[in-house]
Structure formats: structure tokens, C-alpha cells
Symmetry: C3
Subunit: 205 residues, 3 copies
């Protein structure tokens, strides 16, 4: 098992925990908890793979990607009061998952022949898509659209990766730089409560 796969599975696991916690708060049954765990952990990669024509997605050809969210969902179902109290820690881990996903998503999209701009966009989608599907299925406006900065760091990290991939720098270095930018910015946003600006002036009805 390569180190990248280990990181990737860890990212799926952490995202799945966040999906399961949302499901539990909404009062869903264990089946709903497991589906939301899976959708949150794997959904961003699914959207990317469907759009860049990399189907079937990796998660449907490697059973470990299906087991990770199931384990996360069952753990959350059983220990959610403790996990809920540790939400700050979960958010910190989530920031690492976000950094990882925006990097791997951008690199995979470049591999599949996408240009610089679309590949950066797909990197961002890989990072935020699972949480967006989670919120749509929980019937609420995606949290990435308001509150603390989340999508912008993912886009920034992905942009750095695709820009670096067009230089002579080794891929590992570029990936590290992109992931650090995304995760670091996200952690600062949590710590300092940075928010993206909202439109000013009267919103017409």
C-alpha cells in the first residue's frame, strides 16, 4: 500500500466522519448515516471522475475505498457524542483531507489531459464536492457557500499545483507546496474565523 493511498484513505475517512455527524444530527437512521458517510468521503472524487471521463471511479475498483467510509460511519454512529465534542479536532483533520484532495484531484485531472484552468477547478471540486453532496442530501445550503473560508483555500492549492506542474520542479515538491497552501490557509481561517465577503447593499426580492 503506497503512502499516497494511505493518505487518500485517511482523507476519505475524515470526510466520512463529518458526513456521518451531519446525518446523526439530522436524526437519520443507521442506513442514512452510512450513505452520508460514503457520499461525503467519496462524492468529490466521483464528480471529478465522471466529468473527466475516468469512470468507473477508483472507489469502485478498490474495495478499501468502500470500507473506509463504512468504518467511519459505524464509529460515528456508536461514538458520536464523543466525536461531536472533538469536532474542533475533526475540523483540523478535515483541513488536511481538503489539502490532500485538492492536490490529488488536480494532478489526476492533468493526467487525463485537462488544461490548467479546468484541472485547477477539478482539484477544488474534488475537495469540496463531497461536502456539497452531503449538504444537498441533508436538505440544507452547502456550508462551503458561507461561514469560514473553505473553498478558496482548496482552489488556491489546486492552482499552485497546476502552475507548478508546468515547471521543471519535481511533482512531489509541487504537491507538497499546494497541499501546504490549502491546509495552512484553511487552518488559519478556522483559527482566525476568516470569512469570505458577502454582497453588500439591499438584496432585491
Amino acid at each position: 500500500m503506497s503512502i499516497l493511498t494511505v493518505f487518500d484513505l485517511a482523507g476519505v475517512f475524515v470526510f466520512a466522519i463529518s458526513g456521518a455527524l451531519v446525518a446523526i444530527r439530522k436524526g437519520l437512521d443507521v442506513f442514512g448515516v452510512l450513505v452520508l458517510a460514503g457520499v461525503t468521503g467519496l462524492g468529490g472524487g466521483f464528480i471529478r471522475d465522471v466529468l473527466i471521463d475516468a469512470t468507473p471511479p477508483a472507489a469502485l475498483t478498490d474495495w478499501r475505498y468502500l470500507v473506509a467510509p463504512v468504518v467511519a460511519g459505524l464509529l460515528a454512529f456508536r461514538f458520536h457524542p464523543a466525536l461531536g465534542r472533538m469536532e474542533r479536532s475533526v475540523n483540523l483533520l478535515d483541513a488536511f483531507g481538503l489539502g490532500l484532495f485538492c492536490v490529488t484531484g488536480a494532478l489526476k485531472s492533468l493526467d487525463y489531459g485537462l488544461g490548467v484552468l479546468p484541472a485547477a477547478l477539478m482539484g477544488m471540486v474534488t475537495g469540496i464536492g463531497g461536502g456539497m453532496l452531503r449538504d444537498v442530501l441533508a436538505s440544507r445550503v452547502p456550508t462551503v457557500f458561507r461561514g469560514e473560508l473553505y473553498g478558496t483555500p482548496a482552489l488556491a492549492g489546486a492552482v499552485l499545483v497546476v502552475a507548478g506542474a508546468h515547471t521543471d520542479l519535481p511533482t512531489l515538491l509541487v504537491a507538497l507546496a499546494g497541499g501546504t497552501l490549502c491546509t495552512g490557509w484553511r487552518l488559519l481561517a478556522i483559527w482566525r474565523h476568516w470569512q469570505a465577503p458577502v454582497a453588500t447593499g439591499p438584496a432585491s426580492v
Copy 2:
């Protein structure tokens, strides 16, 4: 017209009725009723086909799959008070549609080269995906996430099918066993009001 196609169209038709009834209760116009009928009847297969790379989906290459939900939607639009009173009967038919879809979905996914675990998952998605899309478009949390058991029987039927497909048993027998398990369990769940467990303990905010 093969017997399987007849069953398949019947499944689409019954699912489309349920989609149309939800749309009517939400006060949507006839266009919304037809779209929700189509999405509920065909959506599960669409999600499966997009993920396993079987595009364009069968419903876009065979006009009968488009006519079935339109007829179901128009009938529901015209006769919904009677259909609403027969909802118990609609739910019984829906259980047969669920059993059928989880079997055909799992078998098709195996045909497209998926492994045992992903194929079982895709069988379940074929069964519950249309109803999930219906509820997302109706702006409510999918009913499959709470209430009487629905997704678990679909998963169980699909698991039995993929397990049986790896034996020497004839496919027809395996399909019948999987469909019977799913439909029978679902009917029992309706009859006895079986529900999946919900997480206990205080849900943190």
C-alpha cells in the same frame, strides 16, 4: 419484448407513480410532475450507468423507457386522489420494483467488470437512487434515510445476487433469490413497521 424488459418497464412505471404523487403533494405543475416521475423511475439507473461507464443509459436508447414515466405521470396527474388512497397498494408494487432493480443493477454492474462489493453497491443504488433524486428535487431529506427499512433490503438482495453469481448456480435462480430476499424483507418491513436503528445519546450541535 422479453419478459425482463416487461418487468423492468413495470418497475419504472411504479417508481414514476411515486415520484408523481410527491410532486402533486408539493403543488408542482404538470411539467414538474412529469419530470419528477421520470427522475424517480429512471434516476437510479442513470446514476449507475454514469458511474460504471455504460453511457448513454439504456433509457436514452429505447423510447419505451421514456414513455413509461410520462404515462405514469399523466395518470397520476389526472387520478391522484384515487391513487393517493391506494398508496398502500402502490407501496406493495414499489417493493417489487425495488427487488427487480437491485437485481438487474447488480447483474449489469458485474457485466461491466465491477468487483463483488462495488457491484452490490451499484445494485442498491439502482434501487434507491431514483427516490433519492426525487426527494432532493422536492427539497426534502430522502425518505430512504429514515422511516421503514428500504435501503437495507435492496443492499441485501444485491449482495445475494453478486455472491450467487460467483457460484455455478444458474443466473435466473440467483436473480430470483436476490429479488425475493429484497422484496420479501421490504414487504415484512412495511407490514411490521420495521425501522433501522437511530443513533442514541445526545446529538451535539
Copy 3:
């Protein structure tokens, strides 16, 4: 830059404006405004391309399709009070975008080998899909399901296009007729407040 591309980008731009205005009214931050602008402008084409197996979608291979919604979103973010007051004008432009998308969507689907009925359906989906995704992400029932006629003109225009494509008439003429039918009907619907019928009789619970 061909004349068709100019029209197509204009359609994306106008649709993106409507997505951005919905996001601003929902109080989303600038990131949410840009995502909803992009999803509304490009979503219909994405759904069509994924279903007819034309991935990656055109918008991921031509950077101009990504720039158009970003510019629209930023303009709306900055000038939304003025744009909101001009909503009637935005709706008129939107009717032209709808006519354009239902035509190009139907023609592209025919090019990819779809039959008459599915191609007409995909033309309609190209026209209404972006707005449906916009409303799902804004956590509300899609407006195309109620209120003034919107989906029916799109379907009618697409049907005329696929019917005409099976004659000897020049494609340009067929496209113009389909677009005129869709846009004209839509404009009349706005002007005369035409609505699609709603089911009558008591809706059972």
C-alpha cells in the same frame, strides 16, 4: 470565434447572472455566488454531456466557458442592486439563452447518435438543467416546476429541432425555427403570465 460560440457564451453568461442573483438573495458569500453562477451557466450542458458520453464537457476544454460565469458572478456580486432592479430585462435575455441551449443541446445529442425522443429530451435538459442544479444547491424546489411556463417551451423547441433534422431542410433554418418557437413561447409566457396546470382535487397526505 464562430458566431455560435459567441451566442453560446452569451447564454452561459445570462444564466450565470441568474444563478448569482439567487445566491446573493440567499446571503451566500462571494465563493458561493461564483459557484452558483458557474453551476447555473454550465450545469445543463454538464448533465447532457455526462449522459450522452461526451466527457469531458466542452466547458472543461475551452477556458472561455469558465471565464464567462466568473465575470458574470463578479459583476452580479458588485452590482446586484442594479441587476436586481433590471430582473425583467434579465428574464428576457434568459429566454434567449433558453432557446439557444435547447437547440444546441438537441443538435449535439443527435450528433452523438441519440434517437429523436432522447435527443429532444436532452435539448430540454440542456436548457433547464442549470437552473435546476442552482435551485437544488440553494435548497429550494426548482422554479421550473412551478410558476410561469419555462420547461415546456424548451421541450417544444427541442422537438421541433429533432423533427426538422430528419428532413432535407438546412440545419440553420431548423435551428432558427426551434429557437424562435422556444424563446417566443417563453416571452409570451412571461408577458401573459401563462402557467402550466396544477393537479386539481384534494392532495392526499
